[in-house]
């Protein structure tokens, strides 16, 4: 009996202790965490540059947590899983305190905390943000900041210097007409086509909008009125059709978001629009090719020279988050320390608060990994020419649906392939986009 009593006592001790430990979390068990009075849970993508995650997950959040008496945890998931994960968290009304979207998430506005105070505090500490950051996170209809953007990824033109040099453009194309004429010559002489996607994927969405905006064509005007149905859009469509016929192959209809990277690094294509992921990958995996791939600024169209963001880092704080104040403070501090993130990410993420990286021009003008070291110098004025999806208006729910259901990608692809005339393709896209605008207006978000 004594033995039995002893085992029961032991059992109660063990299970009770276990339950207590489980209930109170790892703070009890793991020395060093015991002091943390608060918790902050962050979800973000697996960064394209592994060194960024190394810095953020193992260094930055640890130091921030110690300073702010908070146990910070980060869950990294693939970019493809973000949309479904966000939907899941909102549906369950439970999840992370800080959730990073890689695009503006206006449809979640009613689930997110207004970030006005974060933006004001950041502005007080780090100066004014760039217009792109505001246009991607603010809803002028409801006067709410549904997200907060500390950084974005530029979407420059990557071109093969050796190939364009052979056709008299050693510094690459400067205008969209240069791409058409130079690209056609390169294709004819060297056999390398231009590689601008015409598929149902994100890079195509960005590239087609870049062309549209430089032709003065837009989904909406600055006030958010529907504006796709214009002569400028038709001109852009006719241009893309000619560009496809003269410089490309049907390969571009097959692409996913990483196909242009692969095709460029494999030496197959002469030009692509992408983040600096192509050049960074080439520096590691194909150094010879890296020397041949160079970057240019936004190309000039008939109306303006403009480029898109490639990735827009938009943090939201859910209304159901458990540590709203901690999440906001984290963002303000992150912006103040963004220079470290800029370096850790190997210039992949550019600051939305330019003053946080005062020596940006100097840093990108001399990168030992680049061939030549000043390869990224062309991005020194990217803060002036990078714009948001939905330019010249804001990234709202209608713009988001048009982007995510590939309405414009399909419009350009149909016109380019000849499966519809530019006029027919435009008519169909206008009808689809008008319906989307009307729908979200009725829901009160546009």
């Amino acid at each position: 009996m004594a033995g039995e009593r002893l085992s029961r006592r032991k059992f109660i001790k063990a299970t009770g202790g276990g339950a207590l430990a489980a209930g109170l979390g790892a703070n009890i068990i793991i020395p060093g965490r015991a002091r943390a009075a608060k918790k902050l849970k962050i979800l973000q993508w697996v960064h394209f540059v592994p060194a960024y995650d190394e810095w953020f997950n193992k260094k930055y959040i640890k130091e921030w947590g110690e300073k702010n008496d908070t146990e910070v945890t980060v869950d990294n998931i693939g970019i493809a899983g973000i949309a479904a994960r966000a939907a899941g968290e909102v549906s369950a009304q439970k999840g992370h305190d800080l959730f990073l979207f890689n695009w503006p998430p206006p449809t979640y506005e009613e689930q997110t905390v207004d970030m006005k105070d974060v933006i004001q505090e950041c502005e007080r500490k780090a100066g004014k943000p760039i217009d792109l950051a505001i246009k991607s996170t603010y809803n002028p209809k409801t006067k709410k900041y549904f997200a907060f953007s500390p950084s974005f990824t530029p979407d420059p033109v990557n071109y093969r210097q050796d190939l364009f040099g052979q056709v008299g453009m050693p510094n690459g194309p400067r205008t969209w007409d240069d791409v058409r004429t130079g690209g056609a010559k390169v294709k004819k002489q060297a056999g390398n086509p231009v590689g601008i996607g015409l598929a149902q994927e994100i890079d195509t969405g960005m590239a087609m909008r870049t062309i549209m905006y430089s032709f003065g064509s837009h989904e909406q005007d600055a006030e958010g009125n529907f504006a796709l149905d214009s002569k400028n859009t038709l001109d852009a469509l006719k241009f893309v059709k000619a560009l496809f016929e003269e410089t490309m192959t049907p390969e571009v209809f097959t692409w996913d978001a990483s196909s242009n990277n692969r095709a460029m690094i494999a030496g197959k294509i002469s030009l692509a629009l992408n983040a600096i992921s192509i050049t960074r990958t080439a520096e590691k995996d194909a150094p010879d090719m890296s020397k041949r791939i160079q970057l240019t600024k936004a190309l000039r169209g008939p109306v303006r020279a403009i480029g898109l963001e490639h990735v827009m880092d938009c943090y939201v704080v859910w209304k159901f988050a458990e540590n709203i104040e901690g999440a906001k403070k984290f963002l303000v501090d992150y912006v103040e320390n963004f220079r470290l993130g800029f370096l850790a990410g190997e210039f992949y993420d550019f600051p939305c608060y330019p003053k946080t990286v005062p020596d940006l021009t100097k840093l990108i003008a001399n990168d030992p990994k680049a061939h030549p070291p000043d390869k990224y110098k062309v991005l020194d004025d990217v803060l002036n020419w990078a714009t948001n999806v939905g330019y010249p208006g804001y990234s709202n729910a209608a713009i988001d649906e048009i982007f995510n259901t590939w309405v414009l990608n399909v419009m350009f692809a149909k016109a380019a392939s000849g499966s519809a005339t530019p006029e027919e393709a435009l008519k169909e896209a206008v009808a689809a986009s008008k319906r989307v605008f009307a729908k979200w207006k009725e829901k009160g978000l546009v």
Partner: protein
């Protein structure tokens, strides 16, 4: 002896009578399956049904009733009509191929030959492997830059050195590719079902046909196939439902491209409901074919049952 005596003690009358009561035992044993269906099939289905007549979005949890508005809104759009057409082409063609190949493979596996177990193993692999991984593998096989098929064709000088096919970039090739991959995935299930049906046909019937002098074709088409009809109906029903509702192969390979020529209702529902945030409209799109599929299921099961009785 004591142990034997203890073992011989009958269970309490009440427990024994409960276990001996077929009515209650049956209910008890069916309960987990019914619970599973209610929780993981019935509840999401009725939720989706309600979503489709509500104004719910990803960011708005309210469920304001809007009637059939979403159905009326999408039905007139060219994208929707294209998706319906593609869905039927994809489902019917893939199922037709599956049924033909399933029959051939089942007949082959009915015979005894060396390495039969290995062939069976190979046949089942596509079914047991996660379809997302399989589709990613196919994405690489059909990749525009690194397609192993194009490399092989080039190596055999069947296409020029830089030539090859844009498997996912030309509409009919893209549709052909996704149908082929769907067939690759579904074929094992159909084959196993048909094989089970073949083994269930009594040998006497085959013997009688042989004695009566029926040739292989007549034997197959006039004896084996009619007897297989109920089983083939079940295999066909499974395959059709899979083909009409699946989106993984298309999502991974084409995302509906090139220019919506492989867009089906399942992918359109995902892009509208999850990627673009309009859950109500996405639910309406996904449920559009439900009445049709229900009718097809009822019809096929009735035909199967009738064939079984006669």
């Amino acid at each position: 002896m004591a142990v034997l005596a203890r073992d011989a003690v009958p269970a309490p009358v009440s427990r024994r009578s409960l276990l001996d009561n077929e009515k209650w035992l049956g209910r008890l044993m069916l309960a987990p399956a019914i619970l599973y269906i209610i929780l993981l099939v019935g509840f999401p289905f009725f939720l989706a049904l309600y979503y489709s007549v509500s104004d719910i979005t990803l960011g708005r949890q309210s469920l304001g009733f809007v009637g059939l508005k979403h159905y009326a809104a999408v039905i007139g759009t060219p994208k929707f009509r294209t998706s319906v057409q593609n869905t039927f082409v994809f489902a019917l063609l893939s199922q037709l191929i599956v049924m033909i190949l399933g029959n051939v493979l089942a007949l082959l596996l009915l015979k005894d030959f060396r390495g039969k177990w290995f062939v069976r193993l190979l046949l089942l692999l596509p079914w047991v492997a996660p379809i997302s991984l399989g589709s990613i593998g196919w994405l690489w096989i059909l990749d525009s830059t690194y397609s192993v098929i194009n490399w092989t064709l080039q190596a055999l000088s069947l296409v020029p050195p830089e030539g090859g096919f844009m498997w996912l970039g030309i509409p009919h090739l893209a549709m052909g590719s996704i149908i082929a991959i769907h067939v690759w995935r579904i074929l094992p299930l159909a084959t196993v079902i048909i094989l089970a049906g073949l083994t269930a046909i009594p040998q006497e019937i085959h013997d009688a046909a042989a004695v009566d002098g029926a040739g292989p074709w007549r034997h197959h088409f006039q004896i084996t196939l009619p007897l297989l009809q109920p089983v083939m109906m079940v295999a066909g029903l499974f395959g059709l439902v899979f083909a009409f509702t699946d989106m993984i192969v298309i999502y991974v390979l084409t995302r509906g491209g090139p220019y919506d020529t492989t867009q089906v209702l399942a992918t359109l529902a995902f892009f509208t409901g999850v990627a673009a945030g309009d859950l109500g409209e996405g639910a309406a799109i996904s449920l559009f074919l439900f009445p049709f599929l229900l009718a097809v299921a009822v019809l096929m099961l009735r035909v199967a049952r009738r064939a079984e009785v006669t």
